[in-house]
């Protein structure tokens, strides 16, 4: 649609580089000129269609990320130790925000770091088990599938902030949780039980989501595979371990990756269920947000950068584990072939 508006296109990209950028090396023969201009047009159009998104993401993701890296090298406003004056600008402190992590201010950081890791490992582990179980039940159940599907979407749709308040109410000292277990536990006070409360609430909200994704994976497994297994006398348990799980693994791994990334940036739930600055549930996101809200931008940025690097490492780990890209990229069949091929250590498949 936009290819027909020359002024915009011309202003956007000068004709010379545009044809070079369009994808193909310029065709030498005159006979191919027609085709060449077609691909050049496609390239221009693609650039026009893609650039607004890239521009927005540059402004809201790339720029802040770079600024966070820069910010993390600055200290907080206040008394300048050298001159004894109060400064209005943030002093440049180099890597001190990072070295402080290993020094005096480190205790709170490491606590948040371990909380984040603990929550991620435990919640994603539990969610995977419960989610797979849910998917198996949904897959088997024919009647009432619509009911299950609707009810399974409810925890997903409840805003995390609201579910934090809801579980705070459930875990109230006079609340229903204590009434059910017949035992007085002060869930929302500091201590291990606060972690348990957060984990229960998080698993409730997200296990159904894993269930949905696994169910989608289950539904593409051809029925014949199971029939063959039954003929060979494989028990249901063996069928699960040797057929269902390996075949559903790609879908499951992607779901687990996305859940891990979500759990690593957990904020709303512990913040509302237990509260800010509670050391038993403080996550890295909460720590960074707390520092930023106290106008200590430098340390906040440093913590955010550490979290960012942590997430990046996890993603890279998963990409290696999956053997191929996790983002589900271009080209339907070609990609699938590549992914299967890479499993058998044959990475090279002509596209």
């Amino acid at each position: 649609m936009a290819t027909r508006t020359p002024p915009e296109t011309a202003a956007d990209r000068p004709p010379g580089p545009a044809s070079g950028r369009a994808g193909r090396p310029p065709a030498p023969e005159k006979a191919r000129r027609g085709r060449k201009s077609a691909t050049a047009g496609t390239g221009r159009m693609a650039a026009l269609l893609v650039s607004p998104t890239l521009l927005v993401l540059t402004v809201v993701v790339l720029y802040p990320t770079i600024m966070a890296l820069r910010e993390s090298l600055y200290g907080t406003k206040g008394l300048d130790p050298k001159t004894g004056f109060i400064s209005d600008t943030e002093p440049f402190v180099g890597l001190q925000n990072y070295t402080d992590i290993f020094g005096e201010a480190g205790a709170r950081f490491w606590n948040a770091f371990w909380n984040t890791t603990f929550f991620t490992v435990v919640t994603v582990g539990l969610e995977t088990v419960i989610g797979v179980a849910m998917a198996l039940i949904m897959h088997k159940a024919f009647s009432g599938r619509a009911l299950i599907r609707a009810s399974i979407l409810i925890p997903w749709a409840v805003p995390t902030a609201i579910s934090g308040l809801l579980w705070r109410w459930i875990f109230n000292s006079d609340g229903i949780a204590n009434a059910l277990i017949g035992h007085q536990v002060l869930w929302t006070t500091e201590g291990f039980h606060a972690k348990v409360a957060v984990i229960i609430a998080e698993v409730w909200k997200t296990a159904p989501f894993i269930g949905l994704l696994v169910l989608a994976g289950l539904q593409v497994i051809p029925r014949e595979v199971y029939e063959a297994a039954r003929m060979d006398g494989a028990s249901p348990v063996r069928q699960f371990w040797h057929i269902t799980l390996p075949l559903v693994k790609p879908a499951l791994l992607v779901a687990v990756l996305f859940r891990c990334l979500d759990a690593l940036r957990m904020f709303d739930l512990p913040y509302l269920l237990v509260g800010a600055q509670k050391s038993s549930v403080e996550t890295l996101s909460m720590l960074a947000q707390n520092e930023a809200s106290n106008v200590r931008f430098g340390p906040a940025a440093a913590y955010a950068v550490v979290l960012f690097v942590y997430v990046l490492l996890i993603v890279l780990g998963f990409v290696r584990l999956l053997g191929a890209d996790v983002v589900g990229d271009a080209g339907g069949t070609g990609r699938k072939k590549r992914r299967w091929a890479s499993k058998g250590n044959r990475v090279e498949v002509p596209a």
Binding site: T65, A216, A251, A292, S293
Partner: protein, 277 residues
Amino acid sequence: MTATVKWRTWLLYLGVAAVVAYCLAPFYWMLVSSLRRTSDIFDTSLLPAPVSFENYRAVFSPSQGFGRALLNSLIVSGTTTVLALLLATFTAYAMARLEFRFKRLILTLIIATSMFPVVSILVPLLKLFTDIGWINTYQAMIVPSMSFVLPLAVWNLTTFFRQMPDELEQAAMIDGCTRGQAFRKIIIPLAAPGIFTTAIIIFIAAWNEFLIALSMTNRPSIQTAPVAISKFAGASQFDTPFGSQMAAGVLVTIPLVIMVLLFQRRIVAGLTAGAAK
């Protein structure tokens, strides 16, 4: 033989009941608690007796400003949804239909941005918005929300566009349409269900956003509903108004529950589109 089959069926029904109960029980508790009177809020009976709308009246008392918060939520998530759809539709079309250099890399980059922890972009944006006086504005919540909503939209729509047969467009182009006209007259109307599904998913994601809305505002009149509820004040300082929090929670969740009930098939298709492929 038939006995074991019967056993299995029963076991399955038990499993189904367990899944449904697991998913619905906490939500049901929110609903029940919201319908109790303040005096018997700590009651643990399964049904509210008597049913009272006291909490709902409290939520809408002018001092809470909850109506305004709902409106703010609607403005922020509505604008975010429309903007993200607009940008993502073009990008997703290019990703699904056009061949160009660095396509894979660009799509990977776009989707990778959704993996960033929000807090890592929050700190610099908070500083920037403080400097340019954007604190307590709608755009201070809408712009950062694009960081996680836009990649989601691009991914979802790309999957939808890819599922549509190429031939439709080619036929239109043979009939003399330009690519742009084919896109406008053929692709967009046919992709409407996909765009609609994406809109629902984005809207829910934007509606549920908390961290950005919390950090970018400090004036109650601009806060979104989740933030406003979290700051509900009780009669005394140490009294958490659980009843009105639950009532407000129900009010914020009900629109989403209705969407889920109406469009569950589509939402499931949209959510699983990327992962199951």
